[in-house]
Structure formats: structure tokens, C-alpha cells
């Protein structure tokens, strides 16, 4: 709050209290730092499909394992193959990934898999992953897509 002071010579000077300003700035900074951390934890940036009149629903899946499928080559996304990774981890071969998922399912039978595949990939790339999951007896499968608000 600005206050008006009169100095020795009879003039007036403005006094500015910066404490609330600093408080708000720190609050904003901490908020943005925390939010940016939360949004990048397991969802890598993937160009998900945006269906017309999307029926995709946001719901919290407990005990979920997110598998990200990204094209190997940005120039030939559909024909260049795909790389698969669990969450934000490094990409792995399909058989290695399948073994890891099987081990995780042994520890937690209620585990559900969410596939986040780039929309430019060929169906065969995603189908190979789905076959690996079927071989490991992982029946329940969720596929990520944009919701209507996210279009």
C-alpha cells in the first residue's frame, strides 16, 4: 500500500511496500514449478489420435502401466517402425518389455495397461505390442485418445 510521506523540506514522497508482491511472485513460481513436474511424469508427448466425436473418457485407472509407442523415424512415421517404452523410461525391445510386464503382473494381478500410441504409426506396430500383451495373458487393455475437449 502506498503511503504518502512528507520529508523535511515539505515535499511528499511515495512509499511502496513490496512484501505482498514478493509473496505472490513466490507463490506463482512454486505453483508453476510443481505443476510442470506433475505433467511430465509418465506421459511423454505423443501425438494421440483425435477421433471425431471422441468417446474417450478421462478416468483414473489404479495400478496402471502406461506404454508409449512412438515412431522411430520422424520422416517416415508409418513405415519406419515404432519404439516402445514403459512410462518415461528408455525404449526397449518388445520381448524385453513383455517380460517386464509379465513380472509386474505377477506382483500385481490387478494391473491394467494403457497404450499411448502415435496416430501416425501403422496398425501392425501397435498390433505387435497387443500380441505381446495377449501372450502374457494381459486381457484388459486401454487405449489413449484425445477427448472432445482436447481436440
Amino acid at each position: 500500500m502506498r503511503t504518502l510521506r512528507h520529508d523535511r523540506h515539505g515535499g511528499s514522497s511515495l512509499d511502496f511496500n513490496a512484501t505482498p508482491l514478493i509473496d505472490v511472485i513466490f507463490t506463482l513460481t512454486i505453483f508453476v514449478m510443481l505443476v510442470s513436474t506433475f505433467s511430465s511424469m509418465e506421459n511423454m508427448p505423443v501425438d494421440l489420435p483425435s477421433p471425431e466425436g471422441s468417446q474417450a473418457k478421462e478416468h483414473d485407472v489404479p495400478d496402471r502401466v502406461v506404454i508409449n509407442c512412438l515412431p522411430v523415424s520422424q520422416l517416415s512415421k508409418r513405415t519406419g517402425g515404432a519404439r516402445y517404452s514403459i512410462g518415461p523410461n528408455a525404449p526397449e525391445a518388445l520381448d524385453v518389455l513383455g517380460d517386464r510386464l509379465a513380472a509386474m503382473k505377477e506382483q500385481n494381478a490387478a494391473m491394467q495397461v494403457v497404450i499411448r500410441a502415435d496416430k501416425h504409426l501403422a496398425y501392425s506396430d501397435v498390433r505387435a505390442l497387443m500380441n505381446v500383451l495377449a501372450e502374457r495373458q494381459i486381457a484388459v487393455l486401454n487405449v489413449a485418445a484425445r477427448t472432445r475437449d482436447g481436440e
Binding site: 513490496a18 508482491l21 514478493i22 511472485i25 513466490f26 506463482l28 513460481t29 508453476v32 514449478m33 505443476v35 510442470s36 505433467s39 511430465s40 506421459n43 508427448p45 494421440l48 489420435p49 483425435s50 477421433p51 471425431e52 466425436g53 471422441s54 468417446q55 474417450a56 473418457k57 478421462e58 478416468h59 485407472v61 508409418r78 513405415t79 494403457v114 499411448r116 500410441a117 502415435d118 496416430k119 501416425h120 504409426l121 501403422a122 496398425y123 501392425s124 506396430d125 501397435v126 498390433r127 497387443m130 500380441n131 500383451l133 495377449a134 486381457a139 484388459v140 487393455l141 486401454n142 487405449v143 489413449a144 485418445a145 484425445r146 477427448t147 475437449d149 482436447g150
Partner: protein
Amino acid sequence: MRAHTARRFTTEQLAQGVQRIRHRRKHKPHRSAIRLNIAPMIDMTFLLLVFFLVTTRFARSEGMLSSKMPQDRGQVGVPLPISPIVVRIKQVGEGVDDFAITLDNVDAFPATFTQLAQVLSEIQSRPGFDKETPVVIIPDEDVWWDHVVNAWNAALRAECRNIAFGAE
């Protein structure tokens, strides 16, 4: 009442007294004021704030569709009734819009996935079909994943409750 007696000072005493007063003023304990210059702190805070505002990426809203596993190499994972609705998707070119949708035993060729949803709704109203009738989506190997998800979404829009992926 005491009589007030004026005390007289000599010139020398007066001079000494003045000197003592000046001395006390000179060596008066100086109270040091701690001053904090907060301008650099505000600068750093604004820099941090701008940095995080620019680098923060807010995730776009995404949801999930649920499904069953594809049948592979003739191994039937899901027992099918006699007449499921089979939707085939073929990639006829390299472009994103170069695809064709066909339905087995149905004389309909929807050009878009919205039309596919309308066709599926119309089929459900025929005798022998309802919302529980399985819908099997069989895409070609080279079809864009985007088209596969669109077909799946079209089946959901038509309120089909039994959707599965198939294989050739």
C-alpha cells in the same frame, strides 16, 4: 524553601563542559541500520517465473477406450456368435485420407467414420442385431493407427457394447 543559589562557572569550566558534550555526541554509539536491497531478489524471482512459464507444457486432455485383445493366427480368444458385424479398413494410398471402410455382408461403404457410426446404428435396428452384437474391426497391417482408433470410436458412438479387434 531553599534559596536558590546560582552557581558560577569560570570560562575554563564552561569550555571544558562544551568539550565533553561534543565528545559525547561524537562517540555516541551509532545504531547501524541493516539495509536489504531487494531489487536483485525481485529480478531473480521474475526470471525464474518467466522461465517456468515459458518451459511449462500443459498436457492436453486425453482419455481412454477399452477393448479386448486381437485374435491372431486363427486362435479364437473371444467366442463369437453366428453373425458379428465385421468392419474392414484398408489403406488405399499414402495419404492420411486414403482409406476405405467396408462391412462384410452389408451393402454400405461409409466414406467417413461418422458415417460408419450411422451405419452401425442402422444395422443394430435390424432384426437379429442389437447393441450386444459383437463388432469386429479388422484393419490392414499398414492402416494408420489413427483410422483404427476412429473406427473403434465410431463403434462406441453407435453404442456397441462388444467391440474386438480381429486379424486376417
